[in-house]
């Protein structure tokens, strides 16, 4: 049976030696490959764009300093996402300690270059609104539940991958994921009852389209 080859293996190898010629280019390429995904996970856990950017910086700085400890026993992405989750949870705890109020995403975060097949401004506004409400609902959960939901849905991770990334047993992954689902549903039903209707309407529109 052929082992799954890590698609990042060569890039990671180039990033291991900061004194090498191609190091900076390799590191920037690695950053460009993962920054959006790292940002998305961090955003789900910390709950706002400013803090998510801070977590991205912290995660890649930590990646730079700890890359020599990566042994290649798992996919590089698994290792990286574990760093991101830990940084996000730490960041969130520090913020909770200072009592800072979590802001909604900044308007600039939804700005992007318009392309031909992009949804209309109305659709985008509606999508952003529903997305913001879902994010608000997620923010009511504990950081650990937020992290497992982020990895499960943003990265489409299996139970095994979740267990490897979070350093948990399979049983713990299943129970935590089930708790996250129930908690999120309870929050939505109790505090965002209109969101249930909006989500159903979006699904119907998507099925019809």
């Amino acid at each position: 049976m052929e082992l799954l080859r890590d698609p990042d293996a060569e890039l990671v190898a180039a990033c291991r030696d900061p004194a090498a010629d191609g190091f900076e280019a390799a590191f920037e390429q690695l950053f460009a490959r993962y920054c959006d995904r790292v940002y998305a996970i961090a955003f789900r856990v910390v709950g706002n764009g400013v803090d998510a950017l801070d977590v991205v910086q912290e995660s890649f700085a930590l990646l730079f300093r700890k890359l020599h400890t990566y042994r290649g026993g798992s996919l590089f992405s698994t290792w990286l996402f574990r760093i991101v989750v830990n940084c996000s949870i730490d960041h969130r705890r520090r913020r909770d300690g200072t009592g800072r109020i979590h802001a909604l995403p900044l308007p600039s975060e939804t700005d992007g270059d318009p392309v031909d097949d992009a949804p209309s401004p109305e659709d985008r506004a509606s999508t952003a609104e529903v997305g913001d409400q879902v994010q608000e609902a997620i923010a009511r959960l504990s950081p650990k539940l937020r992290a497992i939901l982020a990895l499960r849905y943003l990265e489409d991770m299996s139970y095994d991958q979740l267990a490897a990334t979070l350093g948990l047993s399979l049983g713990t992954v299943k129970s935590r994921l089930a708790r996250a689902h129930l908690a999120l549903e309870a929050v939505v039903r109790a505090q965002f009852p209109h969101l249930e209707i909006d989500l159903a309407a979006r699904r119907s529109a998507g099925d019809a389209g």
Binding site: R37, Y39, T127, V134, I138, L154, A178, E196, R202, G206
Partner: protein, 193 residues
Amino acid sequence: MKTLLDAELPACRAFLAGESTGTDGHAQACGSCAARLRLRRGLAAALRTPPAPPAALRSPDFMAAVHERIVAQGERESAVVAALASPPRPAAPIDAPEPTLAPALARAVASAPRANAFAWSNVRQAVIADIGERRGLRRRASIWFVLASAAALAALLPLVLTPAEPPTIDIAFADLDTAPDGDFTMLRGGIPR
């Protein structure tokens, strides 16, 4: 709404836990779970949609900030490592002044004149004399107390030893207008009824 007594409870539980692959069939028969399934699917779709990354994420400034963060982390870590790696300071000599003393106080302590043997002898004699005087006072006070107690006992002893005679009381009724010469008592209100 399903309750705990419903027969479909295990199926509902399996549905809620997300373990069963045949949850759609159960949801068709169970309105409550069907609503949950719709919500769960809607949430899953929303959760799969990543937040739009800000443009700042791709800017050169952001990469520069990452580099600055790397340097800052390195400096922080190196300061800690240096502090941990430095050997502990040797203990100060015993006869050296305490390093926590202010310089002026340290000088004063170091230059304080030492008392000679004659001065200590005077102090000792003064202490002994003071103790002796206090003992004499206590002794004299004890003697006076014993003498006073003996005198009081001598005065009271005859009274105790002499047999007492019962006093004779004469009762006489007299007019209120003329008071008697001896001790008398006035009765008011007449004879008790």
